[in-house]
């Protein structure tokens, strides 16, 4: 059953939130040891939340649009009293004294947060292998990665542990694992979802977004978490978009651009899947044109300077003074160094070093400054493309889920797995990935739909067209 159907059943009193939760906890229990999806399952908290929902139904109140639906949270979202680690030793044992805005909104809509999912340490990675607590396995093939950085959240939905999950997407961290796990993942327009309580990786790129098994569930979840938040200065000053209302609008009369740069280097089965999806949209009445946006090729370079630069500053606060890990030292500087050296893993250190270098005196203009200008060019290039077409289509990833260890010794190879998703983050625009066809080893392929800022209603409608054909429903 979809999250929508489950919530409806709870609202009508046909199912209880507690029964949904118990089913979710059983599913977690069955496979979490094998897959390592959850770092922490908050049974008491989830039970209390589920009971609250059932009580409200019993009192004749409407507990909300996600009544009783269990949801998994990426462990970079702060939740009051619940361990929040970012999969890093440096935050091990920390329990935030406040909750992220999205979590307040979920609970307000009756959802039941069941626990915190594994991620690449501080969301830096594309395979969940950089987690300090061990990798997550892909539920569809446990010898392969689920993608990352939101690998745990994607795996939770793919393994049927929770109908919904939240992740965060800085350079593809929702869309890429969604593609590799065969589910729907959305990177909303920058500012559509509040970042308050999302532990920052790269502030100008980070967005929280939904994972779901189908397009409509993803739309519902995004509607619940989106909308202006006064606690986030970069939050768009407008309410959440109407997505479900436009889900069946179709794409007749729409112009779709098939982007060459979003296929370059992808496996042949993936190119074929994207072309087949393009055909489906054409059959549904869209006009399809082939486009080239050469600026997209520069995305990776700009991203791997901008994101680490912001991260180097965002991660400075983990210094052993106020919370989290402390490793003693003779003086405060020695203590800072000992703490950070012991608390951060290699990938995090690599990015902090890279970002510190890119911002440091003498290199700023050549690296960070130049990357910001490339970012401008990227935005301009997208803007020109969107004068010609309404949305763009391409691959989400160059390959299907890859085996563990295949890219861990070569950072650049790992970084390349985000080559198709990064440009959207740099532009602050919207994109989603949905499963469409199968590739190598019968693993799912993700097709990516991209649109300008605030184009989510159109992206979801187009995704629904593809999903209907793919599922025959």
């Amino acid at each position: 059953m979809s999250a929508r159907e489950l919530a409806e059943a709870v609202r009508r009193g046909e199912r209880t939130a507690q029964s949904l939760l118990e089913a979710s906890l059983r599913a977690i229990d069955e496979r979490n040891d094998e897959l390592h999806v959850f770092l922490h399952v908050d049974e008491p908290g989830a039970r209390a939340a589920a009971r609250l929902v059932d009580d409200r139904v019993a009192r004749g109140e409407d507990p909300g649009r996600l009544a009783g639906v269990p949801i998994a949270l990426k462990d970079n979202l702060c939740q009051t009293g619940v361990p929040t680690t970012c999969s890093s030793r440096i935050l091990e044992g920390w329990r935030p004294p406040y909750s992220a805005t999205v979590i307040d909104r979920l609970i307000g809509a009756g959802a039941v947060p069941v626990g915190k999912t594994n991620l690449d340490e501080f969301a830096m990675g594309s395979s969940t292998e950089t987690s300090a607590f061990g990798p997550t396995r892909n539920p569809l093939d446990p010898t392969r990665v689920p993608g990352g950085s939101s690998g745990g959240s994607a795996a939770s939905v793919a393994a049927g542990m929770t109908p919904l999950a939240l992740g965060s997407d800085t350079g593809g961290s929702i869309r890429q694992p969604a593609a590799l796990c065969g589910i729907v993942g959305v990177k909303p327009t920058y500012g559509m979802v509040s970042r308050y309580g999302l532990i920052a990786f790269a502030s100008s790129l980070d967005q929280i977004g939904p994972f779901a098994a189908d397009v409509a569930d993803a739309a519902l979840l995004l509607e619940v978490i989106a909308g202006h938040d006064p606690m986030d200065s970069t939050s768009l000053p407008e309410p959440a978009p109407d997505l479900l209302a436009h889900l069946d609008d179709g794409v007749a009369g729409r112009r779709v651009g098939l982007v060459r740069e979003l296929l370059d280097g992808a496996d042949p089965e993936i190119v074929a899947a994207v072309e087949r999806a393009t055909g489906v949209l054409r059959d549904a009445g869209a006009t399809v044109v082939e486009l080239s946006i050469p600026e997209l090729r520069l995305g990776l370079s700009a991203y791997y300077l901008i994101a680490p630069a912001e991260a180097s500053s965002n991660l400075a606060r983990y210094d052993g003074v106020r919370y989290g890990l402390r490793v003693d030292g003779d003086d405060v500087t020695a203590m800072n160094e000992a703490t950070r050296t012991a608390g951060f893993g290699a990938e995090v250190k690599r990015r902090i070093m890279l970002g510190t270098y890119a911002l440091s005196a003498g290199y700023y203009d050549a690296y960070y400054g130049q990357a910001l200008k490339v970012r401008t060019q990227m935005i301009e290039a997208f803007r020109r493309a969107y004068q010609r077409v309404d949305l763009l289509i391409g691959a989400t990833t160059p390959s299907v889920a890859f085996p563990f260890g295949s890219k861990t010794n070569d950072p650049m190879a790992m970084y390349l797995s985000d080559v198709f998703t990064i440009p959207t983050n740099l532009a602050g625009e919207a994109a989603l990935s949905l499963p469409f066809g199968r590739g190598e080893a019968d693993l799912p392929i993700g097709v990516q739909l991209l649109g300008p800022g605030r184009s989510e209603p159109l992206l979801f409608a187009a995704a629904r067209v593809l999903e209907r054909v793919e599922r025959g429903s």
Partner: protein, 99 residues
């Protein structure tokens, strides 16, 4: 090949409050050089007249009213601290005054 040196990497590690072993220093020097080499594709562009973008959208004047909101409880604050004394966060000696 990027001209990133081992000394520069060591300097950056100090700025970032990270201690690297000799072998990590070698590894990071080559790995960071690889990323910087990849970024060389940007270096060759003439972007003199292009404005940098630090923010995706041009919101301005986002402010809040000057109204007091509840602070955290003292206990919740100190419960997080690795070391507390006298209601404050305790740290080892500080070697110099703030810049």
């Amino acid at each position: 090949m990027s001209d990133l040196t081992r000394d520069e990497v060591a300097h950056v590690a100090r700025l970032a409050r990270l201690r690297l072993t000799e072998s990590e220093l070698d590894l990071f020097t080559s790995q960071l050089a690889q990323v910087l080499d990849h970024a060389a594709d940007m270096g060759s562009l003439d972007l003199v007249d292009v404005e940098p973008t630090a923010h995706p959208f041009g919101l301005i004047n986002v402010v809040r009213d000057d109204v007091v909101r509840p602070s955290l409880s003292h206990d919740a604050v100190l419960a997080m601290a690795p070391d507390v004394e006298d209601g404050r966060f305790a740290v080892p000696r500080i070697m110099g005054e703030a810049p």
